[in-house]
């Protein structure tokens, strides 16, 4: 699925140059669950953005199924994100003015599907996360766990091959965290997703098949758990 070769990402911060990723080499297989752990500010989120095509490496290559994401035009990158990559965010990132169903449906807008097909997909996605009876509720009317379920439904409604989750349980209590983790695991198994979860929580990390440690921009992936 993913092949990262000597990926480096630097940022200019005033007069300083910050090296977020420092020569990252990694391979993530199809259907694999990789957790990336590490302290804040050591490049975990940057790695996720590179994998999701939200940013380009300063040097090195990032290949997704043989295609170099770093060299793709922006329009093509957008198409890849729309069709193949799902994102789950720590703060859920739901549109506050849209009910849960419409938030999920937003992910299908770039795909050019007809309305009936979209509605069917949305219904299935909400059912998969157990929110069928919350479809018309605004995010403000949902609990934290329900909002994250909506976020997961939105990520999966397009039937992607990759799911990238940035601290998906970071804003949830323990009980809800476990619910979400269980849901993610269930969906991962059912759909054969390639799942990359960034987390600082060891409980979350140890649910993955492999754990990578991110330290000062360098990634060291351990053995399969």
């Amino acid at each position: 699925m993913y092949t990262l070769t000597n990926v480096t990402k630097t940022y200019r911060k005033g007069r300083e140059t910050v090296m977020a990723l420092d020569g990252v080499d990694a391979e993530i297989g199809d259907g694999e669950w990789l957790a990336v752990q590490g302290p804040t500010g050591h490049g975990k989120t940057t790695l996720l953005q590179i994998l999701g095509g939200l940013d380009r490496p300063t040097s090195g290559t990032v290949e997704l199924d043989g295609s170099n994401l770093g060299a793709m035009p922006e329009a093509e990158l957008a198409r890849v994100r729309a069709a193949s990559i799902g994102f789950v965010f720590q703060t859920f990132n739901l549109i506050p003015t849209l009910p849960a169903a419409q938030n999920v449906e937003l992910a299908l807008a770039p795909l050019g599907m007809d309305a009936a097909a979209r509605r069917e997909r949305v219904a299935l996605a909400l059912e998969a996360v157990g929110l069928t009876n919350r479809a018309r509720h605004l995010p403000s009317e949902l609990s934290g766990g329900q909002q994250q379920r909506t976020g997961i439904a939105r990520a999966l409604v397009k039937e992607p091959t990759v799911l990238l989750a940035d601290e998906p349980t970071g804003n949830l209590d323990e009980g809800t965290r476990d619910e979400i983790l269980a849901l993610l695991e269930k969906l991962w198994r059912e759909r054969g997703l390639t799942l990359v979860v960034v987390t600082h929580d060891s409980v979350v990390a140890h649910r993955a098949q492999r754990i990578g440690q991110m330290t000062d921009g360098k990634l060291v992936i351990g053995q399969t758990t």
């Binding site: 939200l54 957008a78 003015t97 419409q102 992910a107 770039p110």
Partner: protein
């Protein structure tokens, strides 16, 4: 597509207060553009009406001679009748300068003159009933009554006083009437004097038959239910053929006014210059020069509409555009997380821009439509509040002074038989004050233009906001809040 409309609808509902604020700003700008345009149109129409009332249809240039108090009036001496008795009755020039028919013919012969009509403006003065304290020197003399009489060329009915009237009873004057003792009388004068078609009136002690009753052209267009006030001095009480008038007043071949129509609108200025060159003493006025002299409340309204009003409308509309743009860009800046999320979901920059532009377009359309209603309402209110303005113009081209008499010492002893002879004072600076019906019509074209401007402003704001959103990097948007 339905998800996009849902997104649009719910987003606007969520930001209703801001949307209303922007729409209201645009509405004020659009409404002001429409109102100012309507006012300017109304002023132009009113000015045209004033000029028509003074000038008549088809007249491009009016030529008169300034009156000098030293001018003699041989006709006066010949027609001072009942001399020595109480009061004087005479028909003379209406205290206007005279020039000869040959001089008038020279004007008509100019190459770019399409038509010219001569007029001899006269006043019939008859003794009135005295109602004041006794006059030791000449007791019993009452305030004289003045009746305006225009002796007009009858060959061209489209020029001069004949173009300003509408015959409502009897017949008009024809070319065959040039020297005939016939007359048309104004309907108001006829009513006051109990005259009808066939009545006999006395001018310079000669009997003249009334062959027709007329009303001024403006009266026909007066709004129903409102009282028509004939502009003072615009149309005389009596119209007689010029040949007959010259004979009765003893002013053979003399005229006081020549009305001129140029070959084309482009020739008016050139013809006016040629007349001035040929007759240096002449007072040559065009409708354009007269328009600039219109003062009074109509003149004030014209200045307000065209100067202050125009710039105010532009300033308000520009401010509304700027406000819409600022608020839209600020709103997009607050939606950083939302924009970043949409990009992460695979939305392209142009789709996001289209969403923001669509939101602005809806707000702009609402503002433009509200502004159109506002403009129509304000124009209607303006028409109601300013329905009767006054236009003050320097002496009517046809007459140098209004009706009526001003008592005073005789200014020209050769014309006076008594030291306390009542005489008309001639004041070259006399002004006529004309009531003008004002209406502020809204042109559909202007309304459409204003709506387009309002929409354009909103779309511009949306484009700026969309540009701001398009430039947001997905990572920058997510990093702030992730």
């Amino acid at each position: 597509m339905s998800i996009l409309f849902t997104y649009l609808r719910l987003e606007l509902r969520h930001r209703m207060r801001q949307a209303i604020f922007i729409a209201a700003g645009l509405a004020v700008g659009v409404g002001l553009v429409i109102t100012v345009s309507a006012a300017a149109t109304g002023v132009r129409n009113a000015q045209a009406g004033v000029l028509h009332g003074l000038y008549g249809i088809g007249t491009d240039i009016t030529v008169t001679r300034p009156y000098s108090l030293g001018d003699t009036d041989p006709g006066k001496e010949n027609h001072q009748i009942n001399a020595g008795q109480k009061g004087y009755e005479y028909l003379d020039d209406a205290n206007q300068g005279l020039f000869s028919a040959s001089e008038a013919a020279a004007i008509a012969a100019l190459p770019r003159v399409r038509a010219a009509a001569d007029v001899l403006a006269l006043d019939q003065t008859t003794p009135g009933t005295y109602s004041g304290p006794p006059d030791p020197s000449d007791p019993g003399i009452g305030l004289p009554v003045s009746t305006s009489v225009d002796a007009v060329a009858t060959a061209d009915q489209q020029l001069g006083p004949l173009s300003e009237i509408r015959v409502i009873s009897g017949r008009g004057l024809s070319a065959a009437d040039t020297d005939a003792d016939v007359a048309l009388v104004d309907s108001g004068y006829a009513a006051a004097q109990h005259l009808h078609v066939g009545s006999m009136i006395t001018l310079a002690h000669h009997d003249v038959r009334v062959v027709g009753i007329f009303s001024a052209q403006g009266e026909a267009g007066q709004k129903a239910g409102t009282e028509y006030t004939e502009p003072d001095g615009a149309v005389p009480d009596i119209l007689i053929p010029i040949g007959a008038g010259q004979a009765l007043a003893g002013l053979h071949n003399d005229v006081t006014t020549v009305y001129v129509t140029a070959a084309s609108a482009a020739d008016v200025a050139a013809v006016a210059r040629e007349i001035s060159a040929r007759l240096p003493w002449a007072n040559v006025t065009t409708s354009a020069s007269l328009a600039s002299e219109i003062s009074g409340s109509l003149g004030t309204t014209a200045k307000l509409a065209t100067d202050l009003g125009r710039w105010l409308a532009i300033a308000v509309l520009a401010a509304a555009f700027a406000l819409a743009a600022l608020l839209t860009v600020a709103s997009v800046s607050r939606r950083v997380r939302e924009v970043g999320t949409l990009k992460a979901l695979g939305w392209r920059a142009r789709r996001i821009t289209a969403q923001i532009v669509a939101e602005s377009a809806v707000v702009g359309l609402a503002g433009a439509l509200a502004g159109t209603g506002l403009g129509y309402a304000a124009a209607a209110l303006l028409s109601r509040l300013a329905s009767s303005l006054t236009a003050t113009v320097a002496a009517s081209p046809g007459r140098t002074e209004p009706h009526g008499f001003v008592s005073g010492t005789c200014m020209n002893p050769s014309r006076c038989g008594s030291a306390h002879f009542y005489h008309q004072l001639t004041d070259p600076g006399t002004y006529s004050s004309l009531p003008v019906h004002f209406a502020a019509p809204v042109s559909p074209g202007v309304a459409l233009l204003a709506v387009t401007l309002g929409l354009a402003g909103a779309l511009l704001a949306g484009a700026l906001g969309g540009w701001r959103a398009a430039r947001m990097r997905p990572t920058a948007a997510l990093v702030r809040v992730g």
